[in-house]
């Protein structure tokens, strides 16, 4: 074994922690600069407001301080640094955007305040022009200064809120401990996690975090995986169990062998999936996207039109200029652009915190409109670990009980079916010697059973229907079947040399949370359908135990996708399919939303739209609930952003003036704009309060 620490394969640039830290630093710097700019702007703007109060009252040149204080020249002196130092990013941003044929928020703010400042400068230098027109010699420095100050405040609040939307990713990345205690020549050595390689042995002490993924080799413990799966209960770990990086070791010490590092770990995959979801788009966003592209040029056109129309009506260039500035600064394309992404960011992060991983924004969108949820029985509602509960030797059997078990087990040990494994395990527990007779001419028939030659006998193990097809008289079964099926058992029958000899009742215990999870889905108004390969009666018995009314039984694995398609064609969609993601892949892909139940260690379930990292079915209801709340949140945001602009721009353009005499001060317009995007982000942040309904776990 190599003793030198090897660097692990390079992490993909956008999942490693380094750029995230750089971005964090940058965001912090941006906030500091904005705070400084805003503070200075606020002080200077208050002075400009005080200075301008005099001339604004009633058109008389009343002054609040000495005459020099309210002179236009003093105001010019105070306003200029507000615009060109505090607000310089608006002007530089607008200029570089202009050169690239693009227009954004900066364009509107720079144009609006720049025009107000330039007009005032002209008035300050050539006041005689206004006097000749019979207009009061007013300057609008305070308008430009107030707009810059308010927009800076808006940006500051927004930068703060934006930092909170990506909090979930940051917290996930911080889960990984920086170092690991690796065994080198039998001695524990502390090394950075980035240097841990696959195959290394790592020691974890009580209270420490597991640094990467692996398999426990020595010792035992209770490990808390809540940060990854959302499940609060600690999980027992013994030799051979998988451990996940970033989970917390509670009680014992153990050593594990590393199986995955860097970008392959469960944590890295979760982060990658969440980031992918955050960078995808919803259908509803596409409309907003199209509007945003046209937005700024259209607003400029409307602002210039307002100027021209008001000049033609009134001949008053100053009044027309105020309308122009108001229209420019009230419009807020940012609110439209932020409406969907912020909600998606917060929701997918919130989902990850609770072990619900959405693959894309579309998954969130579709899950919000689901009407039917199809649950696979085995492994989803049940533990997926079938056990033999009954073994009945028929009165007419020629073989002894032990001989029958040995024959059946010999045949079934060749099969990989879960029920076969249950039978073999049962036979092992009953007959101590595990050496079964050799099998010849083995044949497995999908959905029916297995047959072959064992110790000179022709043995068949399978469904009663199949045995009947093979011309074995199954009439004696009738009395035995009913009680087994009522107990929700699957029945496997054994025929030896053409004679019905025995039957097994095999049941797969329900997960303790299944009934409560189904109830939660029904409370959300969803139709719940159970899909099972079992005989109708035993499937119905399982369904009854968890409160499902609609059962589609006797479905072979290959036909699951067809059943989902049928439900969609019957107009019961959108349909979600919940399965374990391994043998349900086609059905998961066919469904409008495929939901895979993770096993806690394997999140690489690419066929699914939503992955529940814990195997807890309650996550399905939680995911659907979160999706519904997110879509409602997005609709509120988009409605607000559209309504704000659609209502604000005409008012700013003076459309209401002839009716109501309302004339929106450009300062109010600036305030409205600054707070529209803040309110969109704040509304999205409300999703952080989402709490999935916790289901009571029966004590086991």
């Amino acid at each position: 074994m190599a003793i030198d620490p090897k660097p692990s394969p390079c992490c993909h640039q956008d999942s490693g922690p380094a750029p995230v830290e750089a971005m964090e630093r940058e965001l912090a710097q941006e906030r500091t600069l904005l705070r400084r700019q805003f503070t200075l702007a606020a002080v200077l703007t208050s002075l400009v407001l005080l200075a301008s109060l005099g001339p604004m009252v009633g058109g008389h040149h009343r002054t609040l301080g000495p005459p020099w204080f309210s002179s236009p020249w003093t105001q010019l002196l105070l306003t200029t640094p507000v615009l060109f130092w505090c607000g310089r990013s608006f002007f530089t941003g607008a200029w570089s955007a202009l050169r690239r044929h693009s227009a954004d928020m900066n364009t509107l703010v720079a144009a609006g305040t720049g025009i107000a400042w330039l007009t005032s400068l002209l008035v300050t230098v050539f006041p005689q022009v206004l006097v000749a027109e019979g207009l009061p010699v007013d300057v609008y420095y305070e308008t430009a200064a107030v707009i810059i100050t308010l927009v800076l405040l808006g940006r500051l609040l927004e930068a703060r809120a934006r930092g909170q939307t990506s909090e979930a990713i940051r917290r996930l990345l911080q889960l990984q401990p920086p170092t690991a205690r690796v065994l080198r020549q039998g001695q524990p050595v502390q090394i950075p996690v980035a240097l841990v390689a696959v195959g290394d042995q790592i020691v974890v002490r009580p209270g420490e975090k597991v640094p990467v993924d692996g398999v426990l080799e020595e010792g035992q413990s209770w490990v808390e995986e809540a940060m990854l799966t959302g499940e609060a209960t600690p999980v027992a770990k013994a030799v051979g169990d998988p451990v996940i990086g970033a989970s917390l070791n509670r009680s014992g010490s153990f050593t594990f062998r590393v199986t995955r590092v860097g970008g392959d770990t469960v944590l890295a995959q979760i982060v990658e999936l969440v980031r992918q979801a955050q960078s995808s788009r919803t259908q509803v966003q596409r409309l907003a996207d199209q509007v945003v592209g046209w937005f700024v040029p259209v607003v400029i056109a409307l602002a210039v039109s307002a100027f021209v129309v008001w000049f033609l009506i009134s001949g008053n260039a100053v009044l027309a200029m105020l309308f122009l500035v108001s229209v420019l600064v009230i419009a807020c394309p940012c609110a439209l652009g932020l409406a969907t992404p912020t909600s998606i960011m917060v929701a997918s992060g919130k989902g990850a915190e609770n072990g619900l991983i959405f693959r894309s924004a579309e998954a969130l969108e579709t899950a919000g409109s689901l009407r039917t949820v199809v649950l696979d029985k085995t492994g989803t509602l049940t533990l997926g670990q079938p056990e033999v509960t009954d073994f009945e030797r028929l009165p007419a059997a020629r073989q002894s009980g032990d001989a029958l078990l040995a024959l059946t087990a010999a045949l079934e040990s060749r099969s990989e079916h879960p029920l076969a494994e249950a039978i073999v395990a049962y036979a092992r527990s009953r007959c101590q010697d595990g050496a079964w007779a050799a099998v010849q001419d083995f044949e497995a028939v999908a959905g029916r059973g297995v047959r072959g030659q064992v110790g000179g006998h022709s043995v068949v193990v399978g469904t009663p229907r199949w045995l009947a097809e093979l011309a074995i008289d199954t009439a004696p079964l009738a009395a035995l079947m009913a009680p087994l099926e009522a107990k929700a058992c699957s029945v496997a029958t054994v025929g030896v040399d053409g004679n019905l000899e025995a039957c097994f009742g095999i049941s797969d215990p329900l997960k303790p949370t299944s009934a409560a999870a189904v109830a939660a889905l029904r409370r959300l108004g969803l139709q719940v359908v159970m899909l099972s390969g079992d005989a109708r009666r035993s499937a119905e018995a399982v369904a009854a135990q968890v409160g499902i009314v609609r059962v589609i039984a006797e479905v072979r694995p290959a036909d699951k996708a067809a059943v989902v398609r049928q439900l969609q064609e019957q107009g019961e969609g959108p349909v979600a399919m919940v399965g374990d993601g391994i043998n349900d892949a086609p059905a998961l892909a066919q469904a409008d939303v495929g939901i895979a139940m993770g096993t806690g260690t394997d999140v690489a379930i690419a066929a699914s739209d939503i992955t529940l990292i814990s195997g807890n079915l309650a996550g399905v209801a939680a995911a659907i609930d979160l999706s519904r709340q997110t879509m409602a949140n997005i609709r509120q945001n988009l409605f607000f952003a559209f309504a704000y602009n659609v209502a604000g721009i005409p008012i700013a353009a003076g459309l209401l003036f002839p009716l109501t005499g309302w004339l929106l001060s450009p300062m109010i317009a600036g305030a409205a704009m600054a707070f529209s995007s803040v309110s969109v982000v704040s509304n999205a942040l409300r999703l952080r309060r989402f709490r999935p309904a916790r289901l009571p776990l029966p004590t086991t």
Binding site: E30, S96, D104, G315, L319, L338
Partner: protein, 142 residues
């Protein structure tokens, strides 16, 4: 009442010569037409990516108030490496998003960050900043 504060002394009709009114209207229309053409019109064709010896198409995009170039032409079915060099301090452009590829790239200031995309079918794939105000287009042609 800030809303009405400016109204009283300002609301005054002034007779302006018809020629001046006509001139203002003309200039206004010209400004509108020019800015619509400038911002929404199509300016120049796309810039084609270079092909390296290893068969990877490469192009560097400068992020400064916009993407330069903002229209990038690449060939279908070949891997592509896009390098973004960000010199614009505005927080708006700190992220670039490729919605069709489900990719988000954080762009640290004064640094070059690369994104590798798998061979892609012909089509038009837009990309944009975190707020969707700054946009570019990836044109994949056969």
């Amino acid at each position: 009442m800030l809303i009405l504060a400016a109204a009283a002394p300002l609301w005054r009709t002034i007779d302006q010569p018809v020629a001046l009114k006509g001139l203002v209207a003309m200039v206004g229309l010209l400004v509108i037409a020019w800015q619509l053409w400038w911002f929404l019109g199509r300016h120049g064709g796309g810039v084609a990516a270079r092909e390296s010896e290893a068969g990877v198409q490469e192009i560097t995009i400068t992020v400064d108030g916009g993407y330069a170039p903002s229209r990038i032409q690449v060939k279908a079915g070949r891997p592509l490496r896009l390098s973004f060099h960000r010199i614009d301090p505005s927080g708006c452009v700190a992220q670039v998003i490729f919605p069709d590829f489900h990719k988000t790239l954080d762009l640290p200031l004064e640094a070059t960050t690369s994104l590798e995309l798998p061979p892609t079918e012909a089509g038009v794939y837009p990309f944009h900043c975190g707020m969707n105000m700054v946009r570019g287009v990836l044109e994949v042609v056969d």
